[in-house]
Assembly symmetry: C2
Homo-oligomer: 204 residues x 2
């Protein structure tokens, strides 16, 4: 693109480095910022600066937090014996929004993916193992993506944890509630038939 | 959304105020920023700060510029007697990229749109009229959106300029080059038939 302003060109360049934002969107955002009130820009820049400078990761669950230990880990109303393993904080938020889980989380920070150069050492797996060994845990629920990488990560962790008395589970996979069968992909539908559940259990 | 961190929640709130960016995208961007190098964040924030603090609008054409007069208006290689009227700087960039126009521009900053509360006084129309009266202009080319608002704005400006010896034109409208007729909307196609051009002229 042919910019009339070096300042504009710089801003577009930097904004377009954000994921999912191309040059055209970056230009639209930059022009929007030029026309905005200075106070609004200050708020935006300050919020990003504060986030970067002050945010910490919870020492227990590795989720993003404002304090050393996050609110969920500190809460006295949670079942501390059940751990849900997730990829990142968005998954914590998604599960919290369902209101169906009262245990604690452990955020891995991704999943094992050799293609992307992510091995077990890049993930919060050692801290998970320490946690399972030092705390009283009854159940570990894997809530990772239903992909090959997710399954590999689940299996790696399952093999690494040598402790008796822990039940392992993965969140259920199958046809989404409300979905029409004709629009369900065939792998999901096929697995749903193989992993069918007794009718008496299906409505509970 | 249920955030574990006030800092994260603030950043998402501010980022989602940008046009076309919803809460989910804002969260994705905020988490990306958390994981980025501090130096990269500094560059991003500085580029936005510099853009906001130092950018100016060219005194002649009202385009975004780093100096009082922009490079295009300063250039000695441009035809100063032909003015192209556009809505915003993106249009200047789009026309410059074609390499087909060697005149000067005038950026209105929008188009007359009573629905959005934008009247002639919110646009750079007075400065355009001053410019036409004080400079030697032979031709004015309207390159606004091919919409009712664009046409209204063209007509308003056409009526306001009382000076002999100026040719007015609008950029051509019709079927896009490379387009299949069956996918062209019927209004464009209908107008293309009414405004058909002699065959000898069509290939020049």
């Amino acid at each position: 693109m042919n910019f009339s302003s070096k300042l504009l060109s710089n801003a577009v360049e930097e904004i377009s480095k954000l994921p999912g934002i191309g040059k055209s969107t970056a230009l639209r955002l930059a022009l929007h910022l030029v026309n905005k009130e200075k106070g609004d820009i200050d708020l935006l820049l300050k919020s990003i600066r504060d986030l970067k400078d002050s945010v910490v990761f919870c020492e227990k669950c590795k989720s993003i937090s404002d304090e050393k230990i996050c609110d969920i880990c500190l809460s006295v109303n949670r079942d501390t014996k059940t751990l849900c393993i997730v990829e990142d904080i968005r998954d914590v938020m998604a599960i919290e929004n369902t209101g169906q889980f009262k245990g604690l989380y452990h955020v891995l920070g991704g999943k094992i993916s050799p293609v992307d150069g992510i091995g077990p050492n890049q993930l919060n797996i050692d801290s998970l193992i320490d946690r399972v060994e030092s705390e009283e845990i009854n159940e570990i629920i894997f809530a990772l993506s239903a992909t090959m990488e997710g399954d590999t990560t689940n299996y790696y962790i399952f093999r690494k944890i040598n402790k008796d008395g822990i039940r392992f589970s993965t969140i259920a996979r199958g046809v989404s509630i409300g979905d029409n069968l004709e629009y369900t992909d065939e792998i999901t539908l096929g697995r749903s038939i193989i992993k069918r559940i007794p009718f008496e259990q299906s409505s509970s």
